[in-house]
């Protein structure tokens, strides 16, 4: 290997990206018909220096974007009450509103006291109310938290607005590209670059506790897998064997990393114990075996293999043993991802020249194709299992999309960067 070191020139750009870089717009391309009418009234603001984040605006956008709610714009509202006494429920009933959210933000020496209440418009009764304190920097987070509380109260499902997403962007200038591993809020705000390189970065994978990200970097002109601690930026190189070092996947207990290595000649699945650094080889076919993913109970690993001629998904015990083919429909099934409850398996499903996101019911093995793009890749489940985030392309535009598990609801998240790929929703 040493002669390769000699020819390595530094191909890495060091950079410090303090804050929001890629801003994003979200379009709801398909929503549910049964969306609940809700009005989020602009919160009353008090305080000398104003409030840097419009909390009610963020909550309104979160709820609307989820597809579960139909929001009312503030011009159409019959009033902007900020206390329970000021609400004229009849006016809101007349507008067909089911739910109403009001609130206040009071600034006090750099601290913000935020309170909100959710009302059932027909019963004229409060359903929920919270008071919380926030710094200026945490106001968006507070807003997403409010959205989560409202969402869970009204749908019974856990909200995912406080989550984060990791993804890779590439910006090409002439023959050179800059690759970045970024993390943003679930709505695309607060994008931060946690790694940047002139060589490719790939395959970000969140640790189950959400504190670390494993990824592949070609910064030394060959592949290596790193684990980076988000809070400190410190990172450890965990795999740098000859050939492929790819497709890292955390075990559900966070103690192991499944990965792909080709050090023995062709790509096989291995499990690396992160405590002992012991490496166990799980597959040893003469074909490509890659893209391992763990079942949520940790007992099984599903991976992509072309041992049958075309890439298909196979399942085996995470301890090793017999491999069983899972997919039979279509000429390309790859990059599996389990739903948090383990009942569904999302994948890239290729038929002809189209690559789409499909989901398999693990009990019946029925395959349901959820998207209709030509180049849909890298499915990642939301932590509540309701949506699948994936990378998509139309012509020269690449973007992230989310689709509900039944395919009925779709959102498109458009960033301003040239290329955006490989999204991963935080746990």
């Amino acid at each position: 290997m040493s002669f390769f070191r000699n020819v390595l020139l530094i191909a890495l750009v060091s950079c410090y990206m303090p804050s929001s870089y890629a801003e994003m717009t979200i379009e709801i391309t398909e929503g549910v018909e049964s969306a609940l009418p809700i009005s989020v009234v602009p919160f009353a603001m008090q305080g000398a220096s104003g409030v840097p984040v419009d909390i009610s605006f963020v909550v309104n956008a979160d709820l609307g974007r989820s597809g579960y709610f139909k929001t009312l714009d503030k011009q159409s509202m019959p009033g902007h009450p900020s206390t329970a006494e000021a609400i004229q429920f009849k006016d809101w009933q007349a507008l067909g509103q089911n739910y109403l959210v009001i609130g206040q933000v009071v600034e006090d020496h750099g601290q913000y006291n935020v309170q909100f209440q959710l009302f059932d418009v027909y019963k004229g009764q409060p359903l929920m109310g919270y008071r919380m304190t926030s710094t200026a920097g945490e106001l968006r987070k507070t807003a997403h938290h409010i959205s989560d509380l409202i969402f869970e109260k009204l749908t019974g499902k856990k909200g995912v607005f406080s989550g984060r997403i990791a993804y890779i962007t590439s910006t090409r200038e002439g023959r050179k590209s800059t690759h970045k591993l970024q993390i943003s809020d679930a709505d695309g705000f607060n994008a931060q670059t946690i790694a940047s390189s002139m060589e490719p970065l790939m395959s970000p994978a969140w640790s189950p506790d959400g504190r670390k990200i494993a990824y592949v970097s070609f910064e030394k002109k060959s592949a290596a897998i790193y684990i980076q601690t988000l809070a400190t930026g410190e990172r450890v190189r965990v795999a740098e064997f000859p050939g492929i070092n790819g497709a890292p996947a955390w075990s559900p207990d966070g103690a192991k990393l499944a990965l792909t290595l080709s050090k023995d000649g062709n790509p096989d699945i291995y499990v690396l114990n992160l405590n002992t650094r012991a490496l166990t080889k799980l597959t040893s076919s003469f074909a490509i075996d890659t893209e391992p993913t763990w079942s949520p109970d940790g007992s099984s690993i599903v991976f992509t293999s072309d041992r049958g001629g075309k890439p298909q998904l196979y399942m085996m015990s995470s301890q090793g043993g017999q491999e069983k083919r899972l997919t039979f429909s279509g000429n390309y099934n790859a990059r599996a991802s389990f739903s948090p409850d383990g009942r569904s398996l999302a994948m890239v499903h290729g038929n002809g020249s189209d690559y789409r996101i499909a989901v398999m019911d693990m009990a019946t093995k029925a395959l349901n194709i959820l998207t209709d793009g030509r180049s849909d890749e890298s499915p990642s489940f939301a932590p509540n299992g309701s949506m699948i985030l994936y990378a998509s392309r139309k012509g020269n535009a690449s973007y992230l999309s989310a689709v509900s598990l039944d395919g009925k609801m779709q959102q498109k998240l458009v960033f301003d960067s040239n290329e955006i790929r490989e999204p991963a929703w935080s746990p």
Binding site: F4, E138, G174, Q228, L230, E234, I288
Partner: protein, 186 residues
């Protein structure tokens, strides 16, 4: 008060990746001015790495090795092997090119080459890494069969990560399904 106060997210700090650093802890700098300075240094260094400089270096990437590599009548001037969709089988058209490189490498046992395997953008990125490696290894095994020493040959796969053609249609995909024969020390 159910707000999660962990707010690890807000504490994410940007990290400097250093291509040369062996000590991973050194890779993380927190001082802003240092970051800015090293950013400039690295950016200019990578500018040198970008090649160009000499005109024609794109067409004949191994021109620095010897004059035969930029002679359009010499098969050594060709350094890219193209592949069919989802295939790592070398097409007959490229057999003479690989043979010429094999012959050169047998005659120059100190010369090393990296076979850089690439794919088009369709399908899954990690699967494409594996496919790109298979393409690189197809070329390597042909060279080995013609007497090139294993120690002269290395495979690297970039999968779909390093397209030469920026488009998103069949014309671009054809150009991106390739192995580049990269002579070292050029």
């Amino acid at each position: 008060m159910k707000l999660n106060k962990a707010v690890w997210a807000l504490a994410i700090s940007a990290v400097i990746l250093s291509g040369c650093s062996e000590d991973e802890k050194d890779a993380s700098l927190t001082d802003g001015s240092q970051n800015a300075a090293s950013g400039i240094n690295d950016a200019s260094t990578s500018g040198l790495n970008g090649g160009s400089g000499m005109s024609g270096s794109d067409m004949y990437p191994n021109a620095g090795i010897g004059p035969e590599f930029s002679d359009p009548n010499n098969p050594l001037s060709k350094s890219t092997i193209y592949f069919m969709l989802d295939s790592s089988q070398v097409q007959p058209d490229f057999v003479p090119v690989i043979a010429a490189h094999a012959q050169y490498l047998v005659a120059h046992p100190g010369q090393r080459v990296v076979m850089e395997g690439n794919t088009d953008e369709r399908g899954s990125p990690e699967y494409n890494i594996a496919l790109g490696e298979q393409r690189a290894k197809s070329v390597i095994s042909m060279m080995k069969a013609q007497g090139v020493s294993e120690s002269q040959l290395q495979a690297v796969s970039y999968g779909e990560e390093k397209p030469v053609a920026a488009g998103h249609d069949e014309a671009a995909w054809e150009l991106n399904r390739r192995v580049e024969i990269a002579y070292q020390g050029k």
